[in-house]
């Protein structure tokens, strides 16, 4: 289908996502009396639960878990994997999600029993390796972000946001400041305003200007003594660097506000520019984006929060330190408290540190440079058919609008996305950011080759051309057809709520 000489390594169109039949649920393979799991013979006499547990608490029937053979169990879950797209299969240009390849060496690290087999209630004397590992990862993150110290504990970006905002709140309380609001650009991720509300602040929205950047004058008009701080993503969610950041920082700091950096887009600038040097006070990073730990179908993530020197005493505890070669967990002087049941998603730290060590200082910078190169190249390749929402050099991602296709031919961003699935590429992010009509947000990442991008560009252009023809544009509106299921009825799922087998009528 492609006219290109080199086969695109990131295109998954040969994947045999086929068959067309529905995979039964594991419960439908179940047969009473069949079993798989064999339990260790402990050589302890097995008691009758009713002799040792109060009868009013005893269940009358065993929990109805599936009764399947191991053979059927393995086949079922393998067939599920065949109905699932993944980075390991091909390119995933999902804007704002940084779906880069996840190097396999991290799998070897994650399965090391000396790391994965440590019980979290092991006293520090038996967890020195883990503490040292945490401290080294903190050192990488603070150097990359230009901050003084970091907590690794938040389990995801959103939890990092809330942790950061609580640090902000503790700072203001400590200073005796009366603050009630937080500024957020209208292009921000939804987690930002949700986190602000949960931190007990009110959201004040800052409009973007025609450049796609924060409108500096309007921002200045919104800054007053009530402002606790601002949350920014830089580069922002349309993929542009907020070049007025120094002026923004000054305006916020003038009222003793703090700047929060949402690290969703850190992948553009590692080794090139640092949030700390831009004036940010609190910075979260997503290890599952920038530092190549896998997304796991929606998690686990990890959202460490780095802070400036004057905020280190507010960091959550337990906080790892190594003094005179001895590691321990301490609680900072004015700590906001604990944010995770234990120490955060520790195994994710080991994966991220392995990735950073493999790349090294130069490789980390090159990672960002190539991410930016790929985004600008793809943007230029498709520019004649997919106008960029903003005419400026982008960072690691860019936003195009298909408002023209919709107006003239009735083909929407959603149709372009679904058609891409049929042609061997995952879809970009659609309808985000909210400030761009019929938005496609494209983030190729640095691990996709030129051949992969050339092929993606060719397919995108084909789709734009097909949209102009009455017959082929109709087909675009009804795809995908080659995927395990065709367009799903989302409205019905909400109307007739079936979220377990037992809710089926």
């Amino acid at each position: 289908m492609s006219t290109l000489k080199e086969a695109p390594g990131g295109r998954a169109s040969s994947s045999p996502l086929m068959g067309g039949e529905v995979e039964p649920t594991i419960f439908e393979f179940s047969h009473s009396g069949r079993r798989t799991g064999t339990i260790r013979n402990s050589r302890v006499e097995q008691v009758d639960p009713k002799d040792f547990l109060p009868v009013e608490f005893l269940r009358s029937e065993k929990v109805d878990l599936p009764e399947v053979s191991e053979r059927d169990l393995v086949a079922h879950f393998m067939r599920l994997t065949h109905r699932q797209y993944a980075v390991d299969l091909g390119s995933y240009p999902l804007g704002s999600c940084t779906m880069k390849y996840n190097p396999k060496l991290a799998d070897a690290v994650a399965s090391n029993a000396n790391l994965s087999g440590v019980h979290p209630q092991t006293p520090p004397s038996g967890a020195q390796g883990w503490i040292e590992l945490c401290v080294e990862l903190e050192r990488y993150l603070t150097e990359i972000t230009g901050m003084a110290a970091a907590t690794l504990a938040p389990a995801a970006g959103a939890q990092g946001e809330l942790t950061g905002l609580l640090i902000m709140k503790a700072y203001h309380k400590d200073r005796g400041n009366h603050k009630t609001t937080i500024l957020i650009p209208d292009s921000a991720h939804g987690t930002n305003p949700a986190s602000v509300t949960l931190a007990g602040y009110k959201v004040v929205t800052v409009p973007s200007d025609e450049r796609g950047l924060v409108d500096l004058e309007k921002l200045r008009a919104l800054v007053n003594d009530e402002v606790a701080g601002i949350m920014l993503t830089n580069p922002n969610t349309v993929g542009l660097f907020e070049k007025d950041i120094a002026e923004i920082a000054k305006a916020i700091h003038d009222v003793d506000g703090l700047l929060y950096y949402d690290g969703a887009n850190l992948n553009a600038i590692v080794g090139v520019a640092r949030p700390g040097d831009m004036g940010f006070d609190i910075v979260h990073s997503n290890l599952h984006k920038t530092f190549a730990t896998p997304h796991g179908g929606g998690g686990p993530g990890s959202g460490p929060v780095a802070v400036a020197e004057r905020l280190t005493r507010f960091l959550p505890g337990p906080y790892p330190v190594v003094v005179d070669g001895v590691g321990s967990w301490i609680t900072p002087e004015k700590s906001i408290g604990r944010v995770h049941s234990f120490y955060g998603n520790a195994v994710v730290y080991a994966r991220a540190l392995a990735f950073m060590k493999a790349l090294g200082a130069e490789g980390l910078k090159e990672m960002s440079e190539v991410a930016v190169l790929n985004a600008n190249y793809l943007k230029a390749k498709i520019a004649d058919y997919y106008p960029a929402a903003y005419d400026e050099t982008c960072m690691h991602e860019f936003v195009v609008t298909v408002a023209g296709l919709k107006k003239n031919y009735g083909v929407r961003a959603l149709d372009v996305a679904k058609t891409l699935l049929d042609r061997g590429y995952h879809a970009p992010t659609v309808y985000f950011p909210l400030i761009v009509e019929e938005a496609l947000m494209i983030e190729p990442t640095e691990t996709e080759s030129k051949a992969t991008l050339d092929c993606l560009a060719e397919i995108l252009i084909d789709i734009a051309i097909e949209a102009t023809n009455e017959e082929s544009s109709e087909a675009l509106k009804h795809g995908p057809n080659r995927t395990p299921v065709s367009r799903v009825d989302e409205a019905r799922a909400a109307r007739v709520l079936v979220t377990t087998m037992d809710a089926k009528g």
Binding site: V47, A113, N114, L166, G190, F241
Partner: protein, 448 residues
Amino acid sequence: MSSFTPHTRDEVESMLGFMGLTSIEQLYDTIPVALQLRRALDLPEALSEVEVIDELAAYGKKNRNSTTDLICFAGGGSYDHDIATVTSTLGLRGEFVTAYTPYQPEVAQGVLQAIFEFQTMISRISGLAITNASLYDGGSALVEAINLACAKTRKGKVVLSEAVNPNWRGVAATFAEGPEHEIVTAKVDRDGRTIWPKVDSNVAAYVVGYPNYLGFIEDISAVRKLASDSGALLIVAYDPIAISLLKSPGELGADIAIAEGQPLGIPLSYGGPYLGLFSVTMDLVRLLPGRLVGETVDTKNRTSYVTTLRAREQDIRREKASSNVCTNQTLMAVWAAIQMSWWGKEGFYEVGRSSLSSRVYLENRLIEEGLIDQRSSAPRFREFPVRFAKNASEVVEAMFEEGFLAGVALEGSNAISNFEGSLLIALTERRTRSQIDSYVKSLKEVAK
């Protein structure tokens, strides 16, 4: 160019040339020069794959693990269960590991269906109709349960049993600072039972452990009545393994049931990634935090799965959302679904019965050896506190030398009223009679 980026120098030049550029630096012209780093990162140079694995393994050697090194009698929110080979083998498949959140359901049926099956299994365990696709851990599940209860009842006070995991209580206290919820801790008596305050119409929720942090099974019906009389919700923090033998939280009247799902096939992992379990009654579904997978059909009327009731979520509701959860712990939910399927109905029961049997055996042995006087009067499942002459932290350190992780010392931030200095001991189906015998023998030497 490094091996991580596929580009050759020629390709980089040709891509730049296509854009009329000569260097990558030009792509960063939009960053003011004053804000550019203009020096190399002060970090080590690149290592080969094998060197990286060696460096991380060197950290591992400074740890004491409970898989191949220590024999683990510690619980306290994390339990040393056997994990089936199929769980790790299937759970490490790249399609599960390297997928994103299932925003394009047509190519994400694998993850979506696995979550649907997970939701079904957890709803059967919790006894509540609705289970979400997971939260970060037990602590975050408690936070979300508190926020949900306060949103539902429009009240801001929560009564938390002291015998709920102290770390989770810490997490709840931290995140209560945001919305400024008032959290009151109800102390426990000498038998390890919560002393509940009187009926209070200002209370949004009562939170009880089942079994509680000390391992005891409390009178759930009493706190259910208290919650009802106060116009509050009942939040039950349960041990999923206990439900193999005990009635479900739902059957006992819980409105919200939360748990740490780690015992369901997740490695100890020094505390994470784990799996927050979160179930609610149908009445509360519109306030459910996190993702929810629902069944539907595609255009050809084939059964399909999709994330549903999306209007609750932060990316749509923004500042009006009652939760900010986006990324969760999906991969761990898939692991748990596989492990629970492997155990099956009988296997799950046997895991619970074996854990109970070993607890009974160990307690008998401790009595026989004169290490404890008598059994507690409170009913318990697989975990229980023991007070030795020495403080528990000293016992734990001494038992390290003998090759045991002896338990959790109820001291410092883990202290519970009336049990300070006690050792909290947990059993799983992984502990054998000979391990228990040698544990008792060593305890006798170090604890006297």
